[in-house]
């Protein structure tokens, strides 16, 4: 197996790119889990809804996807808030497994609603076209499409923005407070119900961003969200439930391991390797790489 520098660099690059998408998805999920201890398997469908909104804005209205993505984040953020109000809020206090049940129902609703709207016209797969689709940045050893550069910049800028919100704003303080100790936060006068709502909105918006970026570099369909979401769950467990730092490091590590494993073991191991990694980490550190809630 010839493994020259160019090939290795490209493998790590693909891992970095898919890792960034996993990272955004995982950060959204871990925020929601951190604050509300809610396991929402339908996060993948929120991701796909975001991707489809960006797609329609660019396909039907000609809006540049890198502008449309913010509209999509807002729209899916609102959808997230509605879902939290209607569903997860009412399940608080009942059995933990009910949340999984509710998210399964959500998967059925969102997936088939998207399919009903898009499949008759666009068949199984669509892809978001960007104005820079064929422009290429030549870095000597490898060439890199503009879209990848923008993806990495957008993903990390969003993380920076999230860090600022979390550690430099009132809302951020409330979120971290509620995440660490809900009852204490309530006693301190934090309106935890409002924090739940906003956190779910932010988490959903991050999912929409992850979906839109995924939809720019890969074709996607209404059913493409479920697997990435479950892998993102494995990531937040790898990184430590509720820990944003864990989600970031876990997401990147995950993308790279998947890419390297696909290179050496072949495509059929791609999904399974993710869980082999999870099992190995959990056997050595049952609470994940970073302490919970960091």
């Amino acid at each position: 197996m010839v493994l020259d520098a160019g090939t290795l660099l490209r493998i790590l690059l693909w891992g970095l790119v898919s890792g960034s998408v996993y990272m955004l998805l995982a950060t959204g999920i871990t925020l929601i889990f951190g604050v509300m201890k809610v396991v929402n398997f339908a996060h993948g469908e929120l991701m796909m809804t975001g991707a489809f909104v960006t797609f329609i804005l660019s396909h039907a209205f000609g809006l540049n996807p890198y502008v449309g993505v913010f509209v999509s984040m807002a729209a899916v953020g609102v959808l997230g808030i509605v879902i939290e109000r209607v569903g997860f809020r009412r399940l608080r206090g009942t059995a933990k497994i009910n949340e999984i049940f509710f998210s399964i129902a959500l998967i059925l609703i969102l997936q088939n609603a998207l399919a009903r709207i898009f499949v008759p016209r666009f068949r199984e797969y669509v892809q978001i076209k960007t104005p820079y689709a064929t422009e290429v940045l030549d870095l000597g050893l490898i060439t890199l499409r503009y879209d990848f550069v923008i993806l990495l910049v957008l993903a990390w800028a969003t993380l920076l923005g999230l860090w600022v919100v979390l550690y430099r704003t009132g809302l951020g303080r409330d979120v971290r407070g509620t995440s660490q100790n809900r009852t204490a936060a309530m006693l301190m006068g934090i309106r935890v119900e409002r924090v739940d709502m906003l956190t779910f909105g932010i988490g959903a918006a991050l999912g929409a961003l992850a979906g839109s970026l995924y939809g720019i570099i890969n074709p996607f369909g209404p059913y493409a969200g479920t697997l990435p979401a479950i892998k993102a769950f494995a990531v937040i467990i790898l990184g430590g439930l509720g820990s944003v730092r864990g989600a970031v490091v876990g997401g990147l590590l995950y993308g790279i391991v998947e890419s390297v494993a696909t290179f050496f073991l072949g495509g059929s191991w791609r999904d399974a390797i993710a869980f082999v990694l999870l099992i190995v980490v959990l056997l050595t550190r049952p609470q994940g790489l970073f302490r919970e809630g960091a």
């Binding site: 059995a95 049940f101 088939n112 479950i230 399974a272 099992i279 959990l282």
Partner: protein
């Protein structure tokens, strides 16, 4: 005799559970209704196996591992080793039982979301092993055809009735086995572990041993459901069984029915499945699936403890003391 006396209530329910469908059998000749109900009986066994593991606090998101391995082992035993399907049906599930022990051991220190994720991961890994490493035995992606449980040469109507009765009998048998376990010291140990492991240990319960036992028995029962499904309804098995979809069914049915009770999974499977079939036939396409999603969301938000409490309150009015002394709420 103590045990039988303790199960008096369950024996009544079992008699009802056996009698009503048999009565229905005499009234209804429509083959399609028989096949839908046979599917309900088989997947009620599968949901029961998930419910038993959940009873000990182990909420698996990869239960398809047991369904699939049970099916594969039984079909291979029947077609390659020449075992009669009726025997392979009970020999095959030994493999998922062992897998249950292995997964239980792997996850003995993991709880809730961690446990769920690793069990899901195991399903993905088992699929690759079945297709790749054991491809020579499992025919890789082409899958295997399953010999029929009913003797050859039997006309289609008689086969459907036979499948119906066998599945019904096995469902009721599983119900009684699980009820006996839940009512016994093992059941108490499961609930103790589910509620608080440290205190259970302080009371002398060997937490790891009982968790493994729960996963092993659940593995076996899930395997029987897989084998039964293979030899009666699908008559074929392919690696597709190890997908997320097949792991979700028992979770849906058990929760809709009501967790922690042996009656819950059966009730849940019946109601959700009949609604599913009705929606698919009457509406079909994406709309039917959206409607099913809405219905499930409504059920869980309105009835967080599943349909069972409603059913129990309703039947309690009939005088028969069908509500156990304390309705278990996980």
């Amino acid at each position: 005799m103590g045990a039988l006396r303790r199960l008096r209530r369950e024996l009544i329910v079992a008699a009802l559970m056996l009698g009503l469908p048999l009565l229905l059998l005499t009234l209804v000749r429509e083959l399609f209704v028989l096949q839908v109900l046979t599917f309900v009986f088989i997947f009620a066994i599968y949901a029961q196996s998930w419910n038993l593991a959940a009873h000990s606090g182990q909420f698996s998101l990869g239960h398809a591992t047991f369904l699939g391995l049970g099916s594969y082992a039984s079909i291979i035993a029947a077609s390659r080793l020449g075992l009669a399907p009726a025997v392979a049906l009970f020999v095959g599930p030994i493999l998922p039982a062992l897998a249950g022990f292995a997964i239980g051991a792997l996850c003995r220190r993991l709880r809730e979301a961690y446990f769920g994720m690793v069990t899901f991961g195991c399903t993905a890994i088992v699929q690759v092993l079945v297709v790749e490493q054991f491809g020579w035995l499992t025919n890789r992606w082409d899958g295997l055809d399953a010999p029929r449980l009913a003797p050859e040469g039997l006309p289609v109507e008689r086969v459907a009735v036979l499948n119906y009765v066998i599945s019904l009998a096995l469902m009721v048998a599983t119900y009684l086995v699980v009820a006996a376990i839940i009512r016994s010291r093992i059941g108490l140990a499961f609930v103790a572990i589910h509620d608080n492991e440290t205190v259970a240990a302080a009371a002398g319960v060997s937490v790891v041993r009982y968790r493994l036992l729960a996963m092993g028995v659940a593995g076996y029962i899930g395997g029987v459901a897989g084998a039964l499904n293979g030899h009666t309804l699908t008559r074929h098995i392919s690696p597709g069984v190890f997908g997320l979809e097949d792991s979700i069914w028992p979770v849906l049915y058990s929760i809709a029915g009501g967790l922690g009770t042996p009656e819950g999974p059966i009730l849940g499977t019946l109601l959700v499945r009949v609604f599913w079939e009705w929606a698919l036939r009457r509406i079909g396409g994406f709309d039917s699936l959206i409607l099913i999603g809405l219905m499930l969301a409504l059920v869980v938000t309105a009835l967080p403890r599943g349909i069972y409490p409603v059913f129990a309150r309703a039947t309690a009015a009939l005088g028969a003391r069908l509500t156990p002394n304390s309705v278990k709420q996980p």
